[in-house]
Each structure stands twice: as C-alpha cells, then as structure tokens.
C-alpha cells in the first residue's frame, strides 16, 4: 500500500491518505471490539483469542483500507479520463479547425498558431504545431501552383488572342487560295484559347479578353461555337436582338462553349446540336439540346451540383473533363443559372439563363433600316483598327477609365463632320431626298457606331485639302457633335445651314486626314469604284454630296 505512494506523490496522496484514515479508523473500531471480546472471554482462552481476533481485525482493517484506496483511485482516474477526452474534443472541434481555417485564409503558420488558443496539454500542442506546419506548406504549394498555372494560362491567352487577331488580318489580306488553311488555323487557335481560358477560370485568373461594347446574341453564340471542335454540328435558332453586356460577354461565351462542347462530345458524331434562344422576363434563355445519351436522374443532379457549386473543388477535376467545373465558376461569377433536363429530342438539354442585368437591347433601328448602312465601310476601316489596337492595349489597362472611353468608339462623336464629307455613300444618297443628313440618330445604331471613320471614303479626294492633313485629331467639342449636317455647295465647300451660327457649325476638315498611308484596302477600292461609277454615270459636276440615289434608278444597266 505505502509502496505506491512514491510512484505518484501528488496524485496518489489523497487516496492513500483516505486509505490510511480508513485503516486507522477500522483498526480502532476492530481493536476496540477485539479488546472487548478478549476481556469478555474466559481467561484461559485470552491469549489465543487476543492473537486470533487481533489478526482478524488487522486483516479487516487492511482490506477496508485497500477498498477505499481502490475506489478513490478509480474515481480519480475516471475524472482524469473525462478531462483528457474533453481536451481531445476541444482539439478536434475547435483548435484544429480554427488553425486550418486561418491557414487556408492565407495566414502564415506562426500567425495561425498565435491567434488560436493553444491546448494546455503538451502532446496536443505538438499535434497542432505539426499539423499547422504541414497544412501551411500544402497551402503554400497549392497557391504557388495555382498562380503558376494562372500566369501560364494568361500568357497562352494573350498569345491566342494576338494570333487570332493576326489570323483575322491575314484572312482579310489574302485571297481564297489560303483562306481555307487560315480558317483551319483560326479554328485551332480558338480552341487552344478556350483551353487556356478554362485553366484561367479554374485558377481564378481573369478571363481572356474584355469586350468594350455589348455583343449581340448571334455573335455570342457564334463566338461560343467557334471555340469547339465540332462547331459544324451546332445549329443556331435565334432571332433575338438582345446583346450581352461587354464585361460579361466573354464569360457567357465561354460557358456556352463548354456546354456546347459537352453536348457535341456526348452525342453521336453525326447528330446536330440545337441551340435555341428565347427572351424571357428574367433574361435570355439559351437552351442547348443534343440527342445523345439521356442522363440519369443522378447524373443530372450531380451535373447541376457541379455547375452550382459555390466553391470550386479542385479534387473533383479529372483533367479531361473540366467543362462543368468551368461552367460552374463562370455561372457563379456572372450570375448565370444553368440547369439540366432530359431533352425532348432524346438527349440532354442544358438551359442557361442569362440574367436581365447582363442583357442590353440594341437601340431600335430607324424604320428604313438601311439608311446608315453604306457609311459603315468607311467607318469600318478606321474603327476596326482602332478597336483592335485598343483591345490589345486593354488587356493590360485595367483602368476603367480607359475602358469607359471606348464603348462607342471614342473618336466618333468628336468628328461628326467627317462622315458628312463622304459624297459617295449610298446612305448619304438616301438621305439627300429629305434634305437632311441626320448624323445624330444614326450615331446610336450599331452600324453607325463607327461612323467616325468615315474619313476613309474621302481619301480618293484627299488631294483637295492637303492643308487639313494634320488636323484629324482635333476634336470638335462634344456639344457641337450633334450638329446634324454639313452640306456642300457645288464648289465642294461646306455650306452653312440657315439659322446656324458660325460657331455651331461643325468643323469639316477631318475627312482627308487618314488612311492614306495604308495600303489600299477593300474599303478604299470600293469607295473609288463607287466614285468612278458615279462620275461615269454623268452627274456632270460631281458635287460632293450630289444625289447619287438617282444613279440606281437611272442606271442604264
């Protein structure tokens, strides 16, 4: 009994003391009883009785003491066990999750440990520290890998974008012989770009490029189908005139591309994939229907779970099937709603709802519908080049200020006069009948967006006003921009309109300024051809804005 005392000096004492007390008390009690028995017994037996009873009393006392000790000890152990279990629970339920959460949020190991109440137990503390170190290292590796992937993807995206721009330029420059090959390269590059975009999206980088204007639904769909390999099987059924806001256009296109890619790869290689667009109250609904395998209820549910997951689970990625995870990321980013259902065609139908806040409706076209059309070519050349240049720069210029200026083609309103100088345009001709050349309403139509470029057509006449060359970039004050018209007299000089003050008159010089340096493009050739035809057709003094609308009617051909 006493032998155990040194083993656990502090902890064992109370049970030992209790046992000693019990022993002494029992000894006293049994000793008394023994004494009484000995005294009460016959004298002859006293010695024997005393020895016998004494032994029994001692043994009894000892037994009692042992029992007390055992009971006390076990109670102590139970308490200790409960305490340890509680500590372990705290470790598992509070300390470790808190540490891991801090580490996942990007805190360093020391910070995470410092901000979390540490367990008192030394062993527990070591557990927490070891775990924190390991998790911290894992997090750092993950972050490093993600950022490496993201920056690599960003570079590939940039390459793909510039390659696509180059290819587009080549497609315009070269003839029919190489067009097929260029288109093939274009297609491959677009797919590579989509892959890079996917990786960028999964690694949390920003998507490939931003459009600085709303993109029409038809372009969205074609942009999406252009990025998948089996685009020829996609049939578009859309008469929607809606457009998707520029900032979301790329994401929507990418998501639709992934969905179309899924649809084409999980349906027979000869069957078409139908894409329907429907404008609804809540936005625009795009449904992609294939006629492939019917997904089971479970598969539909897991697909929906994949695209609606709040956070991306990288472990669910399988390398080759990134599509749904990408769609999920993009849907979360832009607020798209993606749902899967069995299709009436026997396959699966994926329904994407593009919310109303991403949708813009193009301004209504003027009733004539075509009046602005002929002005485009001119505009096209400049504006397109400007836009291209901008697009390239914009990839680096996140500054919204830079972007804000683009949407309408910044130079357009500044040079309202420019377009007016274009005599040959059919639009001008059409308007001539009304006696007005309404630049203002046109400016908001899609086609006229680029109107500022209308300097181009005048190039043929460029020699007439060489002194104006240097001025092209002088912007007319914005307020003056809406000044509707510059009319030209037979001499080719601008005429002031009745009632218009001199100050309010648009500055007419810009037209000749640009384009000369470039090689002759289709636009220029067209303008020249047009002027030539008109001249040949005998409007003898080919005053600039002369009424070429007569030409078609009188056209002898």
């Amino acid at each position: 009994m006493t032998a155990q005392t040194p083993a656990r000096p502090q902890r064992a004492r109370p049970p030992v003391v209790a046992a000693l007390y019990a022993f002494l008390v029992a000894l006293v009690v049994t000793g008394g009883a023994v004494l009484w028995a000995v005294l009460a017994g016959p004298a002859a037996l006293r010695t024997g009785l005393a020895w016998g009873c004494g032994t029994v009393a001692v043994v009894l006392s000892a037994l009692l003491a042992v029992t007390v000790y055992a009971v006390r000890t076990s109670a102590r152990h139970r308490a200790r066990i409960a305490e340890l279990a509680a500590a372990a629970d705290r470790l598992a339920d509070e300390t470790l999750p808190a540490v891991v959460a801090r580490l996942r949020d990007g805190a360093s190991v020391d910070t995470a440990l410092g901000h979390t109440p540490m367990p008192a137990d030394e062993a527990h503390r070591r557990i927490v520290e070891t775990l924190a170190t390991e998790v911290g290292r894992g997090e750092r590796m993950r972050a490093a890998a993600m950022s490496a992937c993201a920056s690599a993807a960003g570079r590939v995206q940039a390459l793909a974008t510039s390659m696509l721009a180059d290819l587009r330029e080549m497609e315009h420059r070269h003839g029919e012989e190489v067009l097929g090959d260029l288109l093939k390269l274009d297609h491959t590059t677009a797919q590579a770009g989509r892959l890079a975009d996917s990786i960028a999206v999964l690694t949390g980088a920003r998507s490939g490029r931003r459009w600085n204007k709303p993109i029409a639904m038809e372009s969205i769909l074609r942009g999406a189908m252009g990025r998948i390999s089996a685009y020829r099987r996609v049939r578009l059924h859309s008469s929607s005139t809606a457009a998707v806001a520029g900032h979301a256009a790329e994401g929507v296109m990418h998501a639709l591309a992934e969905i179309m890619d899924n649809a084409t790869s999980f349906s027979p290689p000869t069957s078409p994939v139908h894409v329907y667009v429907e404008e609804a109250q809540a936005g625009v609904v795009v449904s992609v229907e294939d006629s492939g395998l019917v997904m089971t209820e479970t598969a539909l549910r897991s697909a929906e779970a994949a695209v609606s997951a709040k956070t991306l689970d990288l472990m669910s990625l399988s390398g080759t099937r990134l599509g749904l995870a990408v769609v999920g990321c993009l849907a979360g980013k832009h607020g798209l709603t993606v749902s899967f259902r069995p299709s009436a065609r026997g396959g699966t139908s994926v329904v994407v709802l593009i919310p109303q806040q991403l949708i813009t409706q193009p301004p209504p076209k003027p009733a004539g519908g075509r009046t602005e059309v002929p002005e485009v070519p001119v505009a096209g050349l400049r504006a397109a080049h400007d836009a291209q240049a901008r697009e390239v720069h914009e990839r680096d210029a996140h500054d919204t200020g830079v972007r804000e200026r683009h949407p309408r083609g910044s130079d357009v309103p500044d040079r309202p006069a420019a377009r007016e100088t274009r005599p040959a345009s059919g639009a001008g001709a059409a308007r001539e009948t009304t006696g007005h050349r309404p630049t203002v309403p046109d400016r908001d139509t899609g086609a006229a967006r680029d109107g500022g470029a209308s300097r181009g057509p005048d190039d043929p006449h460029g020699g007439s006003a060489p002194q104006d060359r240097g001025v092209p970039d002088v912007p007319a004050p914005r307020g003056a921009a809406p000044a509707p018209a510059t009319e030209y007299g037979p001499s080719g000089l601008p005429k002031r309109r009745r009632g218009q003050t001199l100050a309010g008159a648009p500055i007419p010089q810009v037209p000749q300024a640009t384009g000369r340096t470039r090689g002759r493009s289709h636009e220029e050739s067209a303008a020249r051809l047009r002027s030539f035809r008109r001249a040949v057709q005998g409007e003898a003094p080919p005053a600039r804005p002369t009424a070429p609308e007569n030409a078609p009617k009188d056209d002898p051909r």
């Binding site: 204007k213 397109a384 899609g446 051809l529 001249a535």
Partner: protein
C-alpha cells in the same frame, strides 16, 4: 447587328461561313452587281440580312465586302447561299458600260471625274 471588323467581334469567319472557305462554283467577281430580290426574314444570319439590305439597289460585290467588313471570298460564299435560295440576283455590268464608253462627252466626264479623285 454590328458588322464584323478585324477582330472587332467574337465571330470567327469560319462560323460565318459554316466552315466553308470556298464558294462552290463562284459566279461572282468583284464588280458583279447584286440585287436583293426579297426582304430579310427574321431568323436569318445577320450577314445575309445586311446583304439584302445593302443590295436593295444594285451593289457591287466589293462594296458589299467593304460594307460588311468581310473578305471578298467570304462574301462570295454568303452570296452563293443567297443566290442558291433565289434571294438575290447577280448582274454583270460590263456590257452596258462598254456600250456607252465611246461617247466623247462621257469620256470627258470620266476624265474629269478621274482627275478629281
């Protein structure tokens, strides 16, 4: 629908032509005049709509190409589609023009016009 430009729009040219790069039996040269024979219908490809709008009066292929900001070869493919469905007709302007050329007045006007270019 805004026109295409050099990388100004997300449409790639192969999606505009449906993957074709060559018009089957091209019947158009640069100055063939195109005349629309019907109004654009809803649901048509936007380029077709624009061609039909532009070609309400006779318009040369090269002008269409410039207006649409598409390469001529792509425009030819689109025109072939429209011609095959009877939505446009094509006229070659050369003969009529040639008949008029000999007149000296006209030639003088041409000269004037050319000098003004």
């Amino acid at each position: 629908m805004s026109p295409l430009g050099p990388d100004d729009d997300p449409d790639r040219l192969y999606t505009v032509t449906g993957g074709r790069s060559r018009a089957a039996g091209s019947r158009f040269d640069l100055v063939t005049l195109i005349v629309a024979e019907c109004e654009p219908a809803p649901g048509m490809q936007s380029e077709h709509v624009r061609i039909l709008e532009l070609a309400r009066r006779p318009t040369a292929v090269v002008e269409l190409s410039a207006a649409l900001r598409l390469p001529v070869s792509v425009v030819r493919i689109l025109l072939t589609d429209l011609l095959d469905t009877g939505r446009i007709t094509a006229r070659h302007p050369r003969t009529a023009a040639r008949a008029e050329l000999p007149e000296p007045d006209l030639l003088k006007e041409v000269l004037d016009a050319l000098q003004r270019l």
